[in-house]
């Protein structure tokens, strides 16, 4: 069984390939050297999965490239694949998320961008159009900009209902459409914004990442800027699932692709102390939808450990058993081939890891 792991870093895209059930890895790169690869996507729906990369050159701007031969060659259209309409007066700073749509929409790819906007492609990610209804949302002018900028970093299309999509942004919150984008509703009830005068606003929450449960498409898990939450009603309300974690701060939140209630998190100590809790490299897993958590450390460094794991730098593959991966700001990538029970180093000494995605190929 072959597994491909795409690793987006601050200075290019690296690809790791395993042909022995993820026991060993061959790492190649960098592709797109000197670009920040904040978004990588693997569209598993074509016979040969399509890779997508959101790349940003600090000099020459952002773009989206695709590959239909697992990274051997890449295409980028002559015209910008993703650009803000002239009337918006906005220009694309970065693509933060590339999310394939449901199986019933085989060419559908969503892109979350900075500044905060949602784009849709129906040709597999070669050309995108902005979703005007979200851009025109009356809240937009009051969305803030976190340290990473004002960006939609999470896009979760419903696996079966093509009219339902959830998006999230830092210092903006969670929004959801149930009518194929005709309207968008802020979905933040129960998520605290401790940094605002009113800590329970309709919107403005600093959501870092949201993941959808494998079994119940109306169940979500959110890592917030302090606060870890679950929603059981499609995002309408949220309750804390932070008890049992050593901290409620962090960036990543990953759901198991098949087992309902199984999620992964990499806690950091606090907003003002963004190091792993206890200065230990440890992933936390819940197998009961956040009711209880267990630390996973087998195979991870035991010495003091300081780098953070960013919001898209953790993922799961679709193998059996599921592989779990995370990359650090110090350029290390770890993988588990047994659902998180044990870990091994895939690559070290890379640039800061921004994003990872993995799939059986």
């Amino acid at each position: 069984m072959g597994v491909l792991l795409a690793i987006g870093t601050e200075k290019g895209l690296y690809l790791a390939r395993s042909e022995d059930d993820r026991k060993s890895w061959e790492v190649s790169g960098p592709l797109f050297p000197m670009t920040g690869v904040y978004a990588v996507g693997i569209d598993r729906r074509p016979v040969t999965p399509r890779l997508l990369a959101g790349v940003t050159s600090s000099h020459f701007g952002p773009s989206v490239a695709t590959s239909d031969d697992l990274g051997g060659s890449w295409r980028e259209p002559e015209r910008a694949p993703l650009a803000f309409p002239e009337a918006t007066g906005a220009s694309l700073k970065r693509v933060w998320q590339l999310a394939p749509g449901p199986d019933s929409q085989p060419g559908r790819i969503y892109a979350g961008t900075e500044p905060s906007a949602l784009f849709v492609s129906d040709d597999g990610g070669e050309t995108f159009e902005m979703v005007r209804s979200l851009w025109d949302h009356p809240h937009r002018e009051k969305w803030g900009a976190g340290f990473g900028g004002q960006a939609i970093h999470t896009v979760l299309p419903h696996p079966a209902d093509t009219s339902s999509v959830l998006v999230a942004m830092s210092t903006g919150g969670v929004y959801r459409t149930a009518d194929a984008g005709a309207s968008w509703t802020a979905n933040n009830t129960g998520i605290k914004a401790y940094f605002l005068p009113d800590p329970w606003p309709e919107f403005g929450q600093c959501v870092h990442k949201v993941a959808r449960d494998a079994g119940d498409p109306d169940r979500f898990y959110a890592q917030n800027h302090h606060g870890v939450y679950r929603s059981d009603d499609a995002g309408a309300t949220w309750q804390s699932i932070a008890e049992g974690l050593p901290s409620d701060f962090g960036f990543a939140m990953v759901a198991h692709p098949r087992r309902p209630g199984v999620i992964y998190n990499f806690p950091l100590t606090a907003d003002a102390r963004r190091y792993p809790t206890g200065e230990r490299c440890q992933v936390f897993r819940s197998q009961d939808a956040g009711a209880t958590w267990e630390p996973l450390t087998d195979g991870l460094p035991s010495e003091p450990f300081y780098p953070a794991v960013l919001r898209d730098a953790m993922c799961a593959d679709d193998a059996e058993p599921t592989g779990v991966y995370f990359g650090t700001r110090s350029g290390e990538v770890y993988a588990s081939r047994d659902e998180g029970d044990s870990w091994a180093l895939v690559a070290g000494h890379l640039p800061d890891v921004l994003s990872v995605r993995a799939a059986v190929v």
Binding site: M34, S57, S58, H59, F60, G61, S63, E76, E78, R79, A80, A83, F84, E86, G89, A90, S91, L92
Partner: protein, 92 residues
Amino acid sequence: MPVTLLVPGVLRGEAGGAPRLNIDAAGTLRDVLDEVGRQWPRLERRIRDEQGAVRRFVNVYVDGEDCRLGAGLDTPVRDGSEVQVLPSVAGG
């Protein structure tokens, strides 16, 4: 006489490998870059964003003068002028 666009090495792949491009579009720097966009759209979007602004860390010189210190995209470009695109020294 056409305008000559000097393409930096890092962008020559977007111009078929050419270090210099001849462009029949004298007038203003905007006119020249618009014509670049028609003929080499991928090169042009490395230089300007979708709203037409020159990217922050790209410098454009018209006959040796930094357009940012002059009239920007309205900088006059005469027949025979040389437009040079250079990435600025930035980054870590």
